[in-house]
Symmetry: C2
Subunit: 413 residues, 2 copies
C-alpha cells in the first residue's frame, strides 16, 4: 500500500475518510443513503466506494429490508471488521508488542514476542510485521491503515537547544528521529508516529487501564529498563525536550553502580529486572527470569522477600519525591517486576507513605497496571487515533512529523 501525496490524492483521502466516518457513525448504509449523507456527486461517490471495496476497507453487507413494492432491496455497505485502521507497536528492550484497532475503532487484538536485546532493527520490524499478520486470526487487512504509532526505548529525537555545547552527542537534524521510522514506513506503507514506549504505556493505562478517568497520573514501569510517564492536569506530559518520566534515572545512591544512561546509582541500577535478578543470585537465590523469581516468592523464599523489601523501599522513596513535586492522585506500577505482587508493592507503598508529605499521604492511590504488556502498543494506537482528551494539547514536535500528524488528523472523521 502506498500513500501518494499531492492535492488530488489528499482530496481523495478526504472523501474516503468522509465515507468511512459515515459508516462508523451510522452502521451499514446503502449507496443511496451514503449519497444523501456525504453530498458527493454520484460519480465521485461510486469511484471512492469502488476504491474502498477494492482495498478491503469496506464490504457489502446483506440487503436492507426495503419497503414493499419498491423493487429489489438495495445492497448495503459496511466497514470491514477485519480492516485495520491503526497499529500500535511497542519496541521494548527485549520484546515486540503489537495491537491493532479496526475502522470501527474496536481493538482487533494484540500479540507479543520476546527477542534478544541485540536484535537488529530490520529483524525487529520483521517480527512486528509477523505479529501484526497474526492478529484477528490472520485476517487483518491493512488497506485502510491510517498510521502506525510506535514506541521505542529512550528519549525520541528532539530539536537541539541553540548553542548546545556538546552537539556531537546528538543525531544530525536531517536524520529520522529513530532508525525504525523509515523501516516501518516502508514496510507498512503508512505514516509512523514515534514516542517513548513507556510514555505510550502511561497513555494506555490512563485511557483504558488502571488510571482511566484520572487527570493526574504517575506511571512507573519496572521492566528491563525503569521509566515512566506522567499525565498532569488531564494531559499527557512530554517535557521540554521529550525528556520527562525518566524516573529510572533518578539517583538513589551517588556511590552506586554505573548506569547505562552514563550516570551513577540510578534507580534503574537497583530496580530493573537485571538488577533484581543479579542481586537475588548474589544473595544465594536461583532465578533466571521474573517468573522464576515469582515462584520463589510464592514459596516464601526469605532472600527474595528481603531483597524486594529493600528494592521496594528505594522505589517508594523515589515515588514520594516525585509525588511531592507533582502531586498525582494515582500512581500506577506496571512492567514485569510488578508481577512479584505484594512482596514488592507493599514495601513500595510503605516507603511512599512514610516519605511523601504527611498532608498528601492519604491523597494518592497506588495501583497495579491492568493492561499488561500491551499497554505501550495500545498507547501507540491512542497516539494515532488522537481522540483522547489527554492528547488534546499534546505537542507535535518535529519528530512527530507535523505534516504527517496533520495528514492523520485530517483523515480522522
Amino acid at each position: 500500500m502506498s500513500h501518494p501525496r499531492g492535492p488530488l490524492a489528499q482530496l481523495r483521502r478526504g472523501h474516503e475518510e468522509l465515507v468511512l466516518g459515515l459508516l462508523r457513525k451510522h452502521g451499514p448504509l446503502s449507496r443511496g443513503e451514503l449519497g444523501k449523507l456525504c453530498q458527493l456527486s454520484r460519480t465521485t461517490l461510486y469511484d471512492i466506494l469502488a476504491g474502498l471495496v477494492a482495498g478491503g476497507a469496506v464490504v457489502a453487507a446483506g440487503p436492507q429490508d426495503a419497503p414493499r413494492g419498491r423493487g429489489r432491496p438495495a445492497e448495503t455497505l459496511t466497514l470491514n471488521p477485519e480492516a485495520g485502521q491503526a497499529i500500535g507497536i511497542d519496541f521494548a528492550r527485549r520484546a515486540v508488542h503489537v495491537a491493532a484497532v479496526n475502522l470501527a475503532h474496536e481493538i482487533v487484538g494484540s500479540a507479543s514476542e520476546p527477542h534478544d536485546a541485540d536484535l537488529p532493527w530490520e529483524q525487529r520490524v520483521d517480527l512486528a510485521e509477523r505479529l501484526v499478520g497474526s492478529l484477528n486470526d490472520g485476517g487483518l487487512r491493512l488497506g485502510a491503515l491510517s498510521a502506525i504509532g510506535a514506541g521505542v526505548v529512550g528519549p525520541v529525537g528532539w530539536p537541539e537547544p541553540e548553542d548546545d555545547p556538546e552537539p556531537e552527542d546528538d543525531p544530525e537534524p536531517d536524520e529520522p528521529a529513530h532508525p525504525v521510522q523509515p523501516l516501518l514506513r516502508e514496510r507498512f506503507g503508512a505514516p509512523v508516529l514515534l514516542d517513548n514506549n513507556t510514555r505510550l504505556a502511561a497513555l494506555g493505562e490512563a485511557i483504558w487501564g488502571a488510571a482511566a478517568g484520572d487527570r493526574d497520573v504517575l506511571y512507573l514501569r519496572l521492566s528491563h529498563g525503569v521509566g515512566g510517564g506522567l499525565v498532569v492536569g488531564g494531559a499527557l506530559h512530554r517535557g521540554a525536550y521529550g525528556l520527562s518520566g525518566e524516573f529510572g534515572h533518578i539517583t538513589v545512591d551517588p556511590d552506586g553502580a554505573p548506569c547505562d544512561c552514563g550516570g551513577t546509582g540510578c534507580l534503574e541500577t537497583v530496580a530493573s529486572i537485571r538488577a533484581v535478578l543479579d542481586a537475588y543470585r548474589a544473595a544465594g537465590g536461583r532465578a533466571d527470569d521474573v517468573p522464576e523469581l515469582v515462584k520463589a516468592i510464592r514459596a516464601g523464599d526469605g532472600a527474595a522477600l528481603t531483597l524486594l523489601e529493600g528494592v521496594g523501599g528505594t522505589i517508594g522513596g523515589v515515588l514520594a519525591a516525585v509525588c511531592n513535586a507533582i502531586g498525582p492522585s494515582v500512581i500506577v506500577i506496571g512492567g514485569e517486576l510488578a508481577e512479584t505482587g505484594p512482596a514488592l508493592i507493599e514495601p513500595v507503598e510503605r516507603a511512599l507513605r512514610a516519605q511523601v508529605m504527611p498532608v498528601s499521604r492519604h491523597r494518592v492511590s497506588l495501583r497495579r497496571a491492568t493492561l499488561g504488556e500491551a499497554a505501550g502498543a495500545l498507547g501507540g494506537i491512542a497516539l494515532v487515533l488522537h481522540e483522547s482528551p489527554l492528547l488534546s494539547r499534546y505537542p507535535a514536535g518535529p519528530d512527530l512529523a507535523p505534516d504527517l500528524l496533520e495528514d492523520i488528523k485530517r483523515r480522522q472523521p
Copy 2:
C-alpha cells in the same frame, strides 16, 4: 466598598466593565464616542459613568480637539491611573508583600514589610492594608477593585478524597479555605482568590520574570520555607489536590532532622534560611540573617563557603531528580538565600549537571529569579487578571470559589 450580588447588580457590573474595557482599549473618549461604542442607552451610560466617576475609577481628561465650528469641545473621560484594579498580597512566613495594578493593567507599585512569624492574621491583614495604602504615593483608590489574589504558606484547602481514612487532620468543608480569606474580603470589600504563595511566585517569574516565555519551568524558592512551583507544557500546574511543587519536603536524609511538615530529613531541614544559619553558627560562624551571611561570603569566610557547597549539592541533587521526572527547560531559583549568589548557585549547578540524566545535561538552564520579593504578590495579580496563557487551563477548585472566579472573569473586558 461593597459588591452587592443579584442579577441587577451583576448587569450593572457588566456595563461598568464594558465601559472600562473601552477606555482601556481606546484611551480617552468623549461621552458621545463611548455611547456609539458601547451601544448602551444614553440614560444607562450616563448613570454608569456617574457611578464610575464617583467611585474614582474614571476621571475627566482635558477636552478633545473638536472640529472647528462645532460648538465647545467635548469633555473626555479616561481611566484613573490611581485606581487599582487588582491587588496581589503574598502572606509569607515572616513578611507581607503587596503589589497593585491599575485599570490600565500597569503595575502601580509594590511594597513589603517583615514581621514576626507568629503575628496573628488580623494584624497581618492590617499590615497588608497599610502597605496597599502606601502604593502610588498613597494615591491608590480602590473604587474599581476587581479582586485580590492572595498567596499563603502551605497547601490551600482542597476537597477531601472520598473515604479519607484520617479526615480529622483536615478542616471542615464549610470553613473558608484559609482564615485570611474572610478577613481580606471584609477589609477590602472584594472577592479573594487564594493560592499557595510559592506557586504564585512561580507564576510571576514565568510571566514577567526569569522564565518569561518558557513553557516548562521549575521554580524553587529558598526562604524561611523551601518550596516551588511548576509550569508544565505552558500551564501553571496545581496537582491533584493542590499539592504540587513541594520540593522542600522531598526527603534528602531519612535519618535527618524532623521537619515542620511532620516528615523527617526533608530538603527544608537543610536548605531553609533557619537551617542554613543554624548550621553556619554550629560551624563557628556568626550571622543572624541572610544579609550577614552574604557579607561573610563576600569576605571569603571558609566556613560559610564550605557550608553552602554542601547545601548547594543537596539542592542540586533534588533538582536533578525532579528534572528527570518532569523535564523542564528552565530552573529558576529565588528566595532570600539565592542572594548568597555563586557560593550557593555554583554547587547547585554542579550537582544538578552531575546527577541529571546525561542526555538532559545541556538542555536545562539554571537562572536566578528576577522579580525579588514581589514575585508572589505579582503572581496574585496575574491570578486575578487571568490573562496569561499559563492560566488558560488553570483549574478553578472549590477554594478558588468558582462563583467568584466566574464573576471576575465576566468582569474582565
